[in-house]
Amino acid sequence: MKVDTLHDSQEQPKTRNLVLTVMLVAGVPLLFIGFVIIQQFGDAYRTKITDHLTALVRKHSRTIDNFLSDRLGDIRVLARSHPVEVLADQVFLTKKLAILREEYGGVFVDLGLIDPNGVQQAYSGPFNLAKADYAGAVWFSETQQSQYYISDVFTGLRGSPHFIVVVKIPWKDQGWILRATVDFNAFNDLVSNIRIGTTGIAFIINRAGELQTKPQIEVDSLSGPHRNFLNTHLEFDTVLIEENPDAFGRDLIFAVTPLNNGRWILIFQQEVSDAFATWNTTKMIAVLLFIFWAAIVALFTYFMSRRMTLRIEEVIIQKDKMSDQVVEAGRLASIGELAAGIAHEINNPVAIMVEEAGWIQDLLAEDEPATPDNLTEIERATAQIKTQGGRCKEITHKLLSFARKTDPTIKQIDLNEMVQDMITLVDQKTRYANVQMETQLDPDLPPIWASATELQQVLLNLLNNSVDAMDSSGGNIHISTQLSDGHIMLKIADSGMGIAEANLARIFDPFYTTKPVGQGTGLGLSICYGIIKKLGGNIQAQSTKGKGTTFTISLPMAKDKLGGVDSDDHSASESQ
């Protein structure tokens, strides 16, 4: 870990972002799965409904067709088993009708025999229709074309809805007709009993769209959506399922099948919402469950991430505090290193002052102290004391300017000037270590934006390290500044012992030190690294064991105050 991470203004996670992320990560797949399942379930349900309707309608259509063909069969049996002469007998017909009614529960209303001219020659039934003339009736002309005929429902001569079953009897090259009336109600019940849900009803229409049964719910037979099927070719024994909206905008599902050899159509209709009621309920429950879940997750993640965010913020604050302390500790350590040199540096002028004062005392202690020679000597001594006092003052000021608490304020700084200042600060140390300082400073160096105390610390640390890298025979330190590729480069090259390649990668790690216990904190370079990174710069070390080490720092040029890299960085971190 490098110390710069302690300094970096880490983007603090926002609760809202966290919640959104969790919701997205958890919600999208669930929504997708839910959608797919609902869709699949819907398809399955639709298939089920369709199958159900198909089966229902087919069953009923068969029943109805069977009913019709059975009735037709009855009449055909009757027609073929007796010659016209017998059938023309009123009493015979009445007897037969009685048997039919007995067998089929009043399905047959009446029986009649019609001659080829359309006049009813014999009749048995509740109406007085003997000798009725059917020459003009539709069914009469229809029957001339085919052997059998089942009419549409019509009111006819008797004034109540009914339909007739007709069988042609060829006799003496002429077509006689046996006609039976089927009770409308008995037939109607077959259809109107088909009921599903609250809106599912069945009815029969002919190809003209006229109702053949009486639906339980009023159906607009002339303009309803079922009229779409009037001209549709319908396969026998197949059911067509279709959805169409009616005049009121309600979606209706239709199950349609042909009847009576395609002349009639059995229509089952139901409102889609009714047919899919269970499906809609399921969908509703699913949606409600999803909303409920989303609310729970949102609430949960909100509180979780709020707690997390607060915790992280706390940690960041603690870390910042700690890294500040680390920097401060490192600074104090470098001051400590300086102190030894400085103490000696102060001690020398102090010693001189003490000796000069002692010398003056010596002179004053003479029996005749006021000789011109003595006075000159005293004058010289006091001047010397003053000079040495000035020296002390200079040293203490230099130290104080460094020892002040770290001021992270970013200011415009002349790097060359700072290098010179730092060289004078370590001057004593280098002199006693027999180290020669050389500088090669680019006079046209543009200013940089940095915290003066922090940059001082970097320079001091590097210079101290360079001096410490020398053995007692000394060496030299070469400091150069230059502008290169828009970056300000500072190189500090020493001719010290160098760093082993294995250690070179670790030198910026905190607490890494090769100095004996108690002499190095191992923080110096890691702090330098942190400070330089914070300034948007870079620090690198190259070293050859036994030849020396070169530290290269590159710093961004100062831009105008607002666009400054560092002020940007700071304002960004504060606004987080």
Partner: protein, 154 residues
């Protein structure tokens, strides 16, 4: 301000420090107390003066600053003890270099003093160093005399 030495012959002192002002003033004060004083501003210069005898007589005591550029006090001490084992050395040290002074004592220095130092204390130490040196020389003389006597067979 007469210096009451415990020895009859006034001690001869060599003062070594890189601070010229300090050396000059302190040498004046020591000279005022009737000691013979020479000065040197670096280790090599001191060794040179010791070698050439520094004038009339050999030096009794070298007052040596620990911290000097170039050849430092400890190196100088080692060189002195190698070539002039009889010369006593008093180390002068700042606060931060007491450890070096102790090193020096181990390497044969007579004593050490912290700068800035009291002149009387310095003189007392010089005196004791000189006494020690003279006694030491006396013993050597006696031993030599005895050797001669033994050789002659008295």
């Amino acid at each position: 301000m007469a210096y009451r030495s415990s020895t009859l012959v006034p001690p001869s002192v060599l003062l070594v420090d890189d601070e010229a002002s300090f050396v000059e003033t302190l040498s004046k004060r020591i000279a005022k107390r009737d000691l013979k004083v020479s000065t040197a501003f670096s280790g090599p210069e001191a060794l040179e003066k010791l070698k050439s005898g520094g004038g009339a007589s050999n030096f009794d005591v070298v007052i040596l600053d620990v911290k000097m550029p170039g050849m430092d006090g400890l190196e100088t001490l080692a060189a002195i003890k190698l070539k002039h084992p009889n010369v006593e050395v008093i180390m002068l040290t700042g606060h931060a270099t007491v450890e070096s002074a102790i090193e020096g004592m181990k390497a044969g220095a007579f004593d050490y003093l912290m700068k800035p130092c009291d002149i009387d204390l310095l003189l007392a130490k010089i005196d004791r160093a000189v006494v020690k040196k003279r006694e030491h020389e006396e013993k050597i003389l006696q031993a030599k005399a005895q050797m001669i006597v033994l050789k002659r067979g008295f």
